[in-house]
Symmetry: C2
Subunit: 592 residues, 2 copies
């Protein structure tokens, strides 16, 4: 059989050459980063996945190669054979800057038109253009590093679970619509007219079934799908590291996952995590940080002022407390001078996007307190507030009075926003946190009933089970999230394995037995035949890789992501299809 | 936080206990295989993923545990703590047959109703029942071994590719319909009314784009989808080991894959493959075995008789040759006595299912030739036929005269069928084969044009390129399949990387430039900006695992497979959905 690449055999990669290779004959293949003529020579920067090296065409070495080198343009794909020499003018900015290759043979594999985007990390073009020409965008060293890093993490994860007796099992992609979940992607069935598969939002039910089947320890790195409106960090399809274990309690699950996280940080970033990772109950996270995924790299913690202001003359505060709301604040300690009245007014606008009606502020200066609300508060109240925040000159206290949810949400986001504006977030610092003891339920106003905060198989904490029927909102769950620098990268729970408790749970969710069976029949059926205690966790791989590579968007760590419109400018998916295809699937388009 | 499993901590697995553990206190958790009372003791066989061990409840050891043991039924989930003792009556059929555990503490985690299927490998129930209660079916040791074996293979594959510089990159699941492929599964888009995604039939275009992007070496273990009518070894979703490499020729691709295959066999079955794996051109495979995926564990090779019979008085033979057809046969050497007239007539029926109009036969006995067609052939012709097959007493020659395709197809299947009926196929023998030099095109009668046998980016062999426009049916491709014991487990090709050659290819396929762009626009666009020579391969993981575990159906090595009706008796997917959901997706059901 004849050979596509002729008699040339690549024996080295561009980025790996060092002074150790001097004198050797090497054969390299790659893309032309640039070509220039200088002093009767032709210089080419040749690029492959490993890096760039300088290649020189010299008439005295090979006239034939030199002459053909004239044809070469940027992004041509070529192969060269030549001798590595010590470079005359060392380039300290280039890993291969101490050597260059004098070419004896040139092969042009493929020509290239001028690409519509530059193959350089710094190229600033619209994201749409980047995605349309993703195959060129992925030539950028930064993007290649991201994908290689992602590969490395999945390798570490798989090695870790394999070593620890977990079995990777593939669960179905064509499955049943998710009860109690987000919106599903549906797939019409051709052989079952009128019926639809759903793409999985997660393998939750299957992994629990695998525990029922005695697989004992399961994991999978798996695509999941949610048809939600896209935000910056969402994609229609995303990748989950999915884990489930039998015969475990919370401590077992958390400790093995801490080992995993430690291994990932150690092997990718050479960072040691302090183990065990801090655990913080949900309630504490909300009260201190206004968030169930607090960024603990910085302070600005929330303090409650209810007791100080409940009887204040300032009705905005006292009235809120009387109506059952909260008055809470944060102290931007040490950064008061960074915020002018105008800046504070911008912060207020920000807080309002989270529902706050206003943002009260108190600046502490060397001259005393400076605040538009000072005149409404008694001196004692003002002193107590300042004292609560241990505030000193140069500090800025920001206060929101509102319904509890709004106070947490607005102050929680505000403290992060302020940290960003102050640029005090250290990207190389990694603060990990388990948030635990989540509420089992949350109230769904639209449906006018309690819904499961995690999912309906989450086990309540033993000491709260007696509250299931009487005070469900007080029941805490054996659920846990893992938070990295204020981003939730994973979460899970111990599951209910007793059908008695499961019945109680459904009752609390307002399901009749019939409704419960309709929604979860096959899992309930499975639980009849011997179910081990079990629990697990799932990580968002895209986010994890994003954070570890220091990127701001998961699109930077996904090879072929979709736009906010859930479409691909490159393939033009989704597309119109032929009516014939729809007919075969027993559906019609409702679009004219 | 309280502990689901109380203060019991599992510290051993059932199947791992040996006489080394005698005297130790162990805590085990698992399912009750069976319970029986004997001589004032309660015996329980306790099962987990690793195996079964015998557990004994003795009133003298723990009265409390003994009394509770009465409640235990099959498939209850329990935890026990006890002391390992040497077994009185050793059970040599059980790996743990030399020990037993006397229980000091019992915990019942979960009760169980009598399961609808037995948890035993030998349980013979309908496949439908097995799939409905898959979580019970997967409790069978055999099924657990299959899934663990599958995990092991994917681990080996990933380790191998990682060590060899391949990067695992995830490609999209929601993508564009496949031109020139099988039937797609479609997914309606909510945010792009009237438009549809397709689930990928393979990541073919994406892996080629990754080569254009300079990823150099890619692999992925990935779900693929084809909406075809299901056969025994087909599933709507299946898993592919997908591989692509840049700057390679056929030898590079084949040799690295041979290393992989060798590693898989060595590490899973401790079998050494003879390397290099034999290569056989397509033409030879057809002529010798009537198949492009020949099982070479046995002979019965095809021989052409055209030259012997072209002028025969026997018009069935000579007429076929004159019309351009073929007369070929196989010799079931040594097994002639195994086939009575009645049996041969059954073989004829079998051959007819592949289109053969009949099956001529010649039995060679000690007394001479015995054949219904002997009287139509001259003695010289008969002698020459016997001679061609080197036939001797005890042999049976079977001959088909028909169009070439029908002859190959019917004899190719017949030789395998006969080997099965004779039960001469050794399951522990592994015969691997590369089939190469496939035709680039095949004629599609329905479409009345040539279509690509592999896919339209397959590179023709250099020495045949000149035939592209004049005699396309003669052009061979740089394509290869890997065959294991008569089953194609993978296939691939070197791809076209020159746009000039790609144009010629499209022309041969009968596409106008416009049609080509409509179908493959983004790949053709990508190829403009510098494309490396590249090629790859894809393996069917399900089939590979099936063969290596000695199973007959891929459903035995998939955790949650679908039935022939593409549905799941367990989840009842696919299902009807609410009209509201369809409205959101801008589609209507065409089913009343």
């Amino acid at each position: 059989m004849a050979d596509v690449i002729g008699n040339m055999k690549r024996n080295n990669m561009c980025g790996n050459l060092t002074t150790d290779n001097i004198g050797q004959e090497v054969t390299l293949m790659g893309w032309v980063q640039k070509r220039r003529n200088l002093g009767g020579l032709v210089f080419v920067d040749l690029r492959d996945r490993t890096g760039i090296c300088q290649v020189i065409f010299d008439k005295d070495v090979s006239e034939e190669a030199f002459n053909r080198a004239e044809e070469i343009r940027s992004e041509f794909v070529i192969g060269i054979r030549g001798i590595v020499r010590k470079r005359q003018s060392v380039n300290p900015n280039m890993p291969t800057g101490e050597i260059e290759i004098f070419v004896e043979e040139l092969k042009i594999f493929s020509q290239a038109q001028t690409p519509p985007i530059y193959i350089e990390d710094e190229d600033e073009v619209s994201e749409n253009l980047r995605l349309k020409y993703r195959y060129l965008d992925l030539r950028k060293p930064k993007m290649q590093k991201n994908l290689i890093f992602r590969h490395k993490i999945t390798k570490i994860v798989r090695d870790f679970f394999d070593e620890n007796g977990f079995v990777e099992v593939e669960t179905p992609m064509l499955t049943k619509p998710t009860p109690e979940g987000a919106r599903d992607y549906l797939v019409p069935s051709r052989v079952n007219p009128g019926k639809f598969y759903a793409l999985p939002q997660s393998p939750q039910l299957f992994k629990q079934l695998l525990m029922v089947s005695g697989m004992d320890r399961y994991f999978q790195i798996v695509k999941c799908f949610r048809d939600e409106d896209l935000r910056a960090d969402r994609q229609p399809e995303f990748t989950q590291i999915d884990v489930e274990m039998s015969f475990v309690d919370i401590d077992n699950v958390l400790s093995i996952n801490e080992e995993l996280i430690n291994k990932i940080f150690k092997e990718t970033l050479d960072v040691n995590i302090n183990l065990p990772i801090e655990r913080m109950p949900y309630k504490e996270a909300m009260e201190r940080f206004g968030s169930d995924k607090p960024d603990t790299r910085f302070g600005f913690e929330l303090k409650c002022l209810n007791d100080i202001v409940e009887n204040s003359e300032f009705k905005v505060f006292s009235g809120t407390v009387k109506k059952g709301g909260d008055v809470r604040g944060i102290n931007i300690d040490g950064y008061g001078d960074s915020f002018s009245r105008k800046n504070i007014s911008k912060l207020e606008d920000f807080a309002k996007t989270y529902g706050a009606k206003g943002l009260a502020w108190i600046k502490i200066t060397e001259e005393g307190v400076n605040s538009p609300i000072a005149k409404f508060l008694s001196e004692d109240e003002l002193n107590k507030i300042v004292e609560r925040f241990s505030a000193k000159a140069g500090d800025l206290i920001l206060i929101v009075a509102d319904e509890s949810d709004v106070v947490y949400d607005s102050l929680g986001h505000l403290r992060v926003e302020i940290a960003k504006r102050l640029d005090i977030l250290n990207k190389d610092e990694y603060k990990l946190l388990w948030v635990t003891e989540f509420p089992l339920f949350e109230y769904d106003k639209e449906e006018d009933r309690y819904v499961a905060k995690h999912h309906p198989f989450t086990c309540p904490m033993d000491e709260d089970i007696h509250l299931l029927e009487t005070e469900p909102h007080k029941v805490r769950a054996k659920a846990y999230d893992i938070v990295l620098n204020g981003v939730e990268i994973g979460g899970g729970s111990i599951r209910i394995h007793s059908s008695e408790l499961q019945q109680k749970m459904f009752k609390a969710l307002g399901f009749s037995e019939e409704q419960a069976w309709e929604k979860f029949g096959f899992l309930l059926e499975a639980f009849k035949y011997g179910t081990p205690p079990h629990g697990g966790i799932a990580y968002g791989l895209d986010r994890l890789v994003m954070l570890l590579t220091g990127n701001d968007s998961i699109r930077e760590v996904i090879a072929f992501p979709k736009t906010q419109n859930a479409s691909s400018p490159m393939t033009e998916a989704p597309t119109y299809v032929e009516v014939k295809q729809l007919e075969e699937l027993h559906i019609e388009s409702a679009v004219e």
